[in-house]
């Protein structure tokens, strides 16, 4: 370090000059120490602030922006399926659709449209999302038009009502549901990407490495000062070192806790939320299959084929949640379906109709409503878990971002004061 000096009189240094150079070199080393510590602490402050606020904003976005969008997408998806089963059920009830079913259908359509519009307004225009939302805006009026044709023909007692309902349902399943599913998937992917950036380790590791480096510099400075000045302790430097150490522990503990909460939100929130959304859609579709079979008076076999494909998926999705209540409700749905199929194949249409649209507790409407309620409660629980876990995750980081900055600045001040008291001896 002493070779830094290149003064013209250094060729043959006189004794006084040697002593002066040594003095100068000590002052310069002190300055260098101050500069190094300052740069390191300021870097830690900046990088740490960026790392922590990055995590904070991703955590906040997942709970404040993407989760509401996901709920919107899920509302579109399940409301459309609910409209499908409600419209089919209303046809089964006779020429005059029951008011309750009519209102429920209207509510489903209103929910789906308004949630789609909400999603369109809030989404940052990703092109696949815009295309899907556009398909929904164009398709929902077409769907309701077809359902209305079915309603009018049904009032007149015309069998073509069933064919219109079938066309409406086929349109819903081949155009609207895939678009709604696309929207849902894209919001879910956005949420998952928020969650992974909320626990991004890159910037944080950078900040922690800088912290360790700073600690190293602080400790090295103290060792040097002790040797050079034969003083036991430099209070400023010591307190700065302790502060930086505490900051490292705080950041490490806070970030780990927050990442764990985000993982918990994904495991107990997002995962079940997705599973219950799928299960609910599948359950509604399975119910609509049975109702449409009855609407066609057993003459269209493709709905039974669809049920046979949908039910095992439903069972599989529910199985991932270890939800015994929903599992047994889904099993009851299969029992009702089998009863309807058996009665239809025996030509006992009226009995099959009684199972499919009657009010008895072992009828399809009661069983399907029970299953839906069970799945909705699972969905609500998952959503609450997600919200509470994500909010706690945000709390784990609270104060850390400014904490990093303040601690670094205080440590810097203390270190400079500590170094300055030594530097005074040379001024």
């Amino acid at each position: 370090m002493s070779t830094v000096v290149t003064s013209p009189d250094a060729v043959e240094p006189p004794a006084y000059a040697v002593a002066r150079r040594r003095k100068l070199s000590t002052a310069r080393v002190l300055t260098l120490c101050a500069v190094c510590i300052s740069v390191a602490l300021l870097l830690v402050a900046v990088v740490g602030y960026i790392a922590v606020t990055g995590r904070e904003s991703a955590t906040a976005a997942s709970v404040n922006i993407t989760e509401p969008l996901l709920v919107d997408a899920q509302t579109v998806y399940t409301s459309l399926s609910d409209a499908d089963t409600t419209a089919a059920g209303a046809l089964l009830a006779g020429p005059i659709e029951p008011t309750a079913l009519r209102q429920r259908y209207a509510l489903d359509v209103a929910r789906a449209s308004s949630a789609a519009e909400d999603a369109a307004r809030r989404s940052q225009s990703s092109s696949t999302l815009v295309t899907s939302l556009n398909s929904l805006s164009v398709g929902i009026p077409i769907y309701t038009g077809l359902v209305q044709e079915a309603v009018v023909n049904n009032r007149l007692g015309y069998p073509v009502a069933g064919a219109y309902q079938g066309e409406a349902s086929s349109f819903l399943r081949t155009h609207l549901l895939p678009a709604a599913h696309q929207v849902y998937r894209s919001e879910l992917a956005q949420l998952e990407s928020n969650q992974s950036s909320a626990k991004a380790v890159g910037p944080l590791i950078g900040a922690l490495l800088l912290l360790l480096l700073t600690l190293g510099v602080l400790i090295a400075a103290q060792v040097w000062v002790r040797r050079r000045f034969r003083r036991r302790v430099n209070v400023g430097l010591l307190v700065a070192t302790v502060l930086v150490g505490v900051l490292a522990v705080w950041a490490l503990v806070g970030a780990t806790a927050q990442a764990n909460r985000i993982d918990a939100a994904a495991a107990a929130g997002t995962g079940p939320l997705d599973a219950y959304t799928q299960a609910r859609q599948l359950a509604l579709q399975a119910r609509a299959d049975d109702e449409l079979t009855l609407v066609s008076r057993g003459s269209v076999g493709s709905y039974a084929v669809d049920f046979a494909a949908v039910w095992p998926q439903l069972k599989g999705v529910i199985a991932t949640q270890q939800d015994s209540h929903s599992t047994s409700a889904a099993a009851a749905l299969l029992v009702a379906h089998n009863r309807i199929s058996a009665l239809l194949s025996e030509g006992q249409f009226l009995k099959a109709l009684a199972v499919g649209s009657g009010t008895s507790s072992d009828g399809l409407p009661a069983i399907a409503a029970h299953l839906d309620a069970s799945l909705v409660s699972g969905l609500d629980t998952a959503q609450q878990r997600f919200n509470s876990d994500t909010t706690s995750a945000a709390n784990d980081l609270s104060g850390l971002a400014w904490g990093v900055v303040i601690v670094c600045l205080v440590a810097l001040g203390l270190a400079l004061v500590g170094l300055r008291s030594r530097a005074k001896e040379y001024s």
Partner: protein, 342 residues
Amino acid sequence: MTLQHQSLSGNLVRALWLGAATGAVAMLSACASVSPPSSAPVNVPVVAPANAAVVTKTTTPASTHAGNCVASRRPPAQLPRPGSMPAGSWMAHIQQRGHLIAGVDQNTFLWGYRDPSTNQLEGFDIDMLQAVSRAIFGDARPVAFVVVPNADREAAVKSGRVDVLAETMTITCKRKKNVDFSAVYYQAGQEILVPVHSPLTGNRQTWAGQRMCAVAGSTSLQHLAAVPVTPPIVPVSVTNQTDCLVLLQQGQVAAISTDDTILQGMAAQDPTLRIVGPPLAPEPYGMAVSKQHPEFTAFVNGVLAQDAGHYWERAYAKWLEPYTHLARPPHQPTPTYSSSGK
């Protein structure tokens, strides 16, 4: 039968674009002072019943109808009095059981259909079966109707699940190998159903190049494809009969072609449609009875021939008269019998 389908979408999209373009022109001329909007083109999704498709290739129709196959068993000279069926006969068995078990359809409007407001089965076929029941019991007691899907009709009769079946079932030589048929109780024929102001007439040349709907795999579809016109008819197939009515009402096809009996049921659901003859192919309907009970087939023929209560005319007037076109003579078909019933 080999069928090749192509999506409906091509033609539909063209039709929809045409409609959209017409609308756009109308809108532009209505507000000519306003600068034209520069909106992106909107894609109107294709709406069609599931599995609707244009058929590009069909096999030629096999001649399933042979004239002498409509001959049935000769009825007894004198029908037994209601309530006292001859011992050992199947009618006596039915009488002992206390009700007739009859196979019917519940989806053919006017023929065998469940009224949605009452959930009762109604129609021409139902009335025919009730006449048979009345001839056995002498009263209007309820018939035990069993809904039999079309594909299971022969099996249901052969296995004895039903005593008799009336389900717009055409008598064919092939079917006659499995079941006995009564004498012809209705002479149906494949015709077309069109909108009232349609340019399509009985002259087949007016059908050239038109899109016409029929059920996939049906003989109607084969007959359509075989009509000798240029350009040929474009057959559109669907899985269910009523889907054709949806396509016709939505203007996606120019006509529906199937048995006039089914067309009557469709015309009854829409006053803007009419049936156009003459028939492409005759479809003689018979009631199916098990080959185990030839005496019951003869009895049913006796009921048809005797027509004590004029039930045929009444059923015709009630169900079909308003919807058939005038060319069809409203009278019961003349039965033909052979001693063997073969």
